[in-house]
Symmetry: C2
Subunit: 137 residues, 2 copies
Amino acid sequence: MTQETNAAATLLAAARFDANGLIAAVAQQHDTHEVLMLAWMNRDALAETLATGRAVYFSRSRGKLWRKGEESGQVQRVIDLRLDCDGDAVLLLVDQTGVACHTGRRSCFYTAIRDGQVVNLTEPLADPKALYARPHA
Amino acid sequence: MTQETNAAATLLAAARFDANGLIAAVAQQHDTHEVLMLAWMNRDALAETLATGRAVYFSRSRGKLWRKGEESGQVQRVIDLRLDCDGDAVLLLVDQTGVACHTGRRSCFYTAIRDGQVVNLTEPLADPKALYARPHA
């Protein structure tokens, strides 16, 4: 076992998964610092993310590993991975290819209040039908 | 009911709380874009955050509303609040007074791998004992 995998094992041991075996993971674009999405990882997803440098989540609806971009091509290269103070959340600094959101928007966080109305702050940059054969989440 | 509270009610209705009645909330410093912390909100916490413009979470360990900074003074003024595409995560753009983390660090996300070792990227800026009579989480 290399130093690298020792460190990954140490980080994995410090991660606190919930009763469903999951930990919340926030992806942030490393250079613009835009928060792109929040998803979930199980232990296998976190281990594979650490080993491969590609963001891997756990799809709660599909009940299996979700290698981000495997279907859409919108992959996330992981620049840095940080665990929070009590070990129950992960921050990924990523380089996002294309768009993070399954709606075709760069970020999933586009719903907000403006002038007393709930609005979409951004419009899709890509056609979701072209990205996915079916919804991802 | 004003337009403002109509919008808050619409946003609340769009939020999808989990089986425990909670939604994940990410706090990001609005100007530096640093991701400060991830915590949880129940419906009351989200409603009070929208109504008051101060970040209110739900403390899972204490089983009650956690008005961020009520004990430590390290409050978060909410500049913007965004719901994600499937309604199960919230992004708060905040102005953080002092430090977000109960360890006295600006951000909770300070544990990472460097040169094959798990390290703390930052040191406390404040003495946790001076911030809290007891741990917050």
